[in-house]
């Protein structure tokens, strides 16, 4: 595909007006480096063994320089309003037991360090994988005797972003073996299934065509190491399931439900495709 693009550009000689967009000629991940408050976060790594990809890239590498910039310091990152909210929630006692998150986990930066990098993660209690969302809700309902938060509630998005932030820079390390195996297989089936009237799979766009423009969008590998992400289009944080839903709708497919077993399996599988990439939560996207 890149060959075609280059040959058109050469054939055109002086690029026409519509070629003037910078992202258009970038037929690949760019070579920018991500520093957040002067600490480097690696945005690409050689793919681990068994990966269908040669090299893994964070979605950050496919965004415009303007969007990339928003992620380079925590004051500029619009996702940090939610972090502030979650820091308050962390210390707020709620529910019949009169406990807060801090009652059991102490300071968030101690208690939650490295935690999110391993999610989704098998739960014997549930008999299925826990996502960070269901894990937070288990603490709320069982230990605090407080009400569960909805999947996309501002509090849930904020709390999962705050917990995710405590793993920032650490490699995603989701387990695929043992009881997770059948869930990974289910997620993989969904990833490669052709869906919708446009008859496409996740792999068509994110495995075969990352680096290519699809109209105005620069296709990434669809990695989830930055979730929940702050999306300018959403004007707020959103979960992986919301993103999956949007992609399915775009190809005119009936999406699975937010929080459904199908999306939990897909999340686990997609997370495992990014094993080794650094966590970037809360990342910023357009």
């Amino acid at each position: 595909m890149k060959f075609y693009l280059k040959s058109t550009l050469m054939a055109l000689g002086v690029a026409g007006a519509f070629m003037a967009t910078t992202s258009f000629v970038a037929a690949d991940a760019d070579d920018h480096k991500l520093f957040i408050d002067d600490v480097e976060i690696l945005t690409d790594i050689a793919a681990p063994e068994g990966s269908p990809l040669d090299h893994l890239y964070s979605g950050w590498r496919f965004r415009s320089p303007e969007t990339q910039d928003l992620q380079t310091d925590d004051f500029g990152n619009p996702g940090f309003a939610a972090i502030t909210l979650a820091e308050e929630l962390w210390d707020t006692a709620e529910g019949a037991k009169g406990k807060s998150c801090a009652s059991c986990h102490n300071d968030v930066d101690e208690g939650m360090k490295g935690v999110s990098a391993a999610y989704p993660k098998w739960s014997d209690k549930l008999g299925k994988p826990h996502t960070l969302v269901t894990r937070v809700n288990e603490c709320r309902t069982d230990r605090m005797e407080a009400k569960a938060w909805k999947w996309e509630a501002p509090e849930m998005l904020a709390m999962t972003a705050l917990v995710g932030l405590q793993s920032r820079g650490m490699p995603v390390a989701v387990k695929s073996d043992g009881p997770m195996k059948s869930w990974m297989e289910k997620g993989k089936d969904i990833y490669y299934a052709r869906v919708g009237q446009l008859n496409m799979s996740c792999a068509n766009c994110h495995e075969q065509n990352f680096g290519n423009m699809i109209r105005a969008d620069h296709l990434s590998q669809g990695q989830i190491n930055g979730f929940p992400v702050y999306r300018l289009k959403w004007g707020g944080l959103g979960s992986t399931h919301r993103r999956f839903k949007g992609c399915m709708k775009n190809i005119r497919a009936k999406a699975f439900g937010v929080g459904s077993d199908e999306f939990i399996a897909l999340e686990a599988y997609v997370a495992s495709r990014g094993n080794g990439l650094a966590v970037e939560t809360p990342a910023v996207r357009n």
């Binding site: 693009l5 519509f18 919708g196 009237q197 068509n204 290519n212 699809i214 109209r215 009936k254």
Partner: protein, 153 residues
């Protein structure tokens, strides 16, 4: 098919095309060697001017999402998922281009990302409002085809 519903759906999608009784049904399109569809799907020639519009319309062909087209410089953001469409009529015959449009999975390759535009070989879990429907109507395919035939270097 409930024709009145279909007409309304087309209207909502901003399309002026209406399925006509003379159209060949998607399942009845005759392929030669899997690579050619020799007869017009409507029995008539398409309109290249309308075809150009359908080519870039996001709710219709949206071909520009994946194919660079030098002849449409007024619109930005041409996709690069597929090969540039420029000069396509020098590379393919009309029958071959019709086959690609009708069912790219058959005419090009089984695992191409390009949708079939007049095929009912759809993915699973099709949204209800699109289920049992082709992406383009027969006359829209003929319009796009008429437009593609003008693309010579």
């Amino acid at each position: 098919m409930d024709i009145s519903k279909y007409v309304i759906a087309c209207f909502i999608a901003g399309s002026v095309s209406v399925a006509s009784a003379a159209d060949v049904a998607p399942a009845d399109v005759v392929f030669t060697d899997d690579t050619m569809v020799e007869n017009s799907l409507t029995g008539a020639a398409g309109d290249a001017v309308r075809g150009r519009e359908i080519f870039s319309n996001r709710k219709q062909g949206n071909c520009l999402a994946c194919h660079v087209n030098e002849q449409i410089p007024e619109l930005g953001f041409h996709g690069e998922v597929g090969p540039p469409i420029d000069g396509v009529a020098d590379r393919y015959s009309v029958s071959e281009m019709r086959a690609i449009l009708v069912d790219s999975k058959k005419a090009l390759s089984e695992d191409t990302i390009m949708p079939g535009f007049y095929s009912l070989d759809l993915g699973i879990r099709v949204l209800k409002k699109f289920s049992g429907k082709t992406v383009l109507t027969a006359s829209q395919v003929e319009d796009v085809l008429a437009y593609l035939t003008t693309l010579k270097e």
